[in-house]
């Protein structure tokens, strides 16, 4: 089931709820009119049985009216949902999107000759097109893979401009690069001990990790942003006027129980001062996907500064 099928099912449900609401309103009027007929026919009879019948009919009219209101509200909630996750009805696609525009200063670009040039953050033009992938749960990754019409490249470009997620943790980062990072402190972004982002010495990490593909990375970031935890963290940071927020989600929640197929890494053996090689990273059940969002100030948009699997 892809988003196209999901959207069609929700549209059909809305139509069904509206139809049921209409029929319920009609039935409520019918019950009212039967109650009125009972009142007219037995007017002045003095017998309590017709009065009982009238009360039950009135109760039925109210209940059916409530039922109609419930169906209308259900339809409205479905429409609200679609407005939130698929506002222009083109979810998942890059079709018709405008070009991103640069924001903020040039950053990064340090390292030996040939290192990737400095980056400049850009506006995120495709965010609203990708909620629907994580909205399908882990199955959404398959939908993203099957229907990718350029959205992975667009979102990868947005991440490259706003941080180093793909350069250090993307699908192009090899086992060898991860091993060199864990053992020798080499930044996968430029292959040297100079931190591509800061120009300082690149810090050594015990676990150097990455996603298996850029599609995995794009899906993971979208899942974190779209999650309850992600939305709450961003809202809280905005309320507090903060310009950085770290959000962590369980990898099993993002990719499903087979999340290890989507991540890999090298773990250093020995201390950073005396490395003894590296071994494949063991990703435990508690593995998290971490995204660090940053913005330049309260008026500038959030960007994904980094995104990685944390063993």
């Amino acid at each position: 089931m892809s988003w196209t099928d999901v959207r069609a099912a929700i549209d059909a449900a809305i139509e069904g709820f509206e139809r049921l609401a209409g029929v319920s309103e009609e039935h409520s009027r019918d019950a009212d009119s039967l109650g009125a007929r009972i009142a007219t026919v037995f007017d002045g009879s003095g017998n309590e049985l017709p009065a009982t019948a009238r009360d039950h009919t009135a109760s039925a009219a109210v209940r059916v009216g409530d039922s109609a209101a419930g169906y209308r509200e259900a339809a409205r909630l479905c429409r609200d949902y679609l407005a939130a996750v698929d506002p222009d009805g083109a979810a998942g696609s890059v079709e018709g999107l405008g070009a991103p525009t640069p924001i903020g200063p040039l950053k990064g670009g340090y390292g030996p000759t040939g290192s990737p040039v400095a980056r400049q953050a850009v506006t995120d033009v495709s965010r609203d097109r990708c909620h629907v992938y994580p909205e399908q749960g882990p199955k959404g990754l398959h939908d993203l893979t099957m229907r990718d019409d350029g959205i992975v490249a667009l979102r990868s470009g947005w991440m490259d401009a706003g941080g180093h997620a793909r350069r250090r943790h993307g699908g192009g980062v090899t086992e060898e690069q991860l091993g060199e990072r864990a053992e020798e402190g080499k930044d996968p972004a430029n292959g040297s001990g100079v931190d591509w982002e800061t120009g300082r010495e690149h810090s050594r990490v015990r676990h150097a990790t990455a996603f298996v593909s850029d599609t995995d990375l794009v899906f993971a970031e979208a899942a974190v942003w779209n999650s309850r935890e992600g939305r709450a963290a961003i809202a809280e940071a905005e309320a507090l006027g903060e310009d950085r927020v770290d959000v962590k989600l369980k990898a099993a929640g993002v990719f499903g129980p087979d999340f290890r197929r989507h991540v890999h890494g090298r773990t250093r053996v020995g201390s950073s001062a005396n490395p003894q090689g590296s071994v494949p990273t063991m990703f435990g059940d508690d593995t998290r996907i971490v995204v660090v969002y940053r913005r330049y100030d309260a008026d500038s948009p959030w960007r994904a500064y980094t995104c990685y699997p944390k063993a």
Binding site: A13, A60, A74
Partner: protein, 81 residues
């Protein structure tokens, strides 16, 4: 009066049946939505499903009310005629 009462009983029965049939139909859009909402991290679709379930339940209660109304009129007929 007797004919009119019998007519009312028939109408109440008809409406009750229609409500029960509708409550059964109500599961169709809810089933569609249930399938579509798997994996969602938002509140709207589960809330819509809960409302639809309550609406179908209310229809069932309304049908029972109409049955009670018809019974009362039947009892009236037995009592008077």
């Amino acid at each position: 009066m007797r004919d009119e009462t019998e007519g009312l009983i028939a109408s109440l029965g008809g409406l009750s049946e229609a409500l029960r049939a509708r409550a059964a139909t109500a599961e169709d859009p809810a089933a569609l939505l249930s399938t579509a909402s798997t994996g969602t991290s938002r509140d709207e679709l589960p809330a819509a499903l809960a409302l639809a379930a309550r609406a179908a339940e209310e229809s069932g209660h309304a049908a029972a009310d109409l049955d009670e109304a018809a019974s009362a009129l039947r009892a009236y007929l037995e009592h008077v005629y």
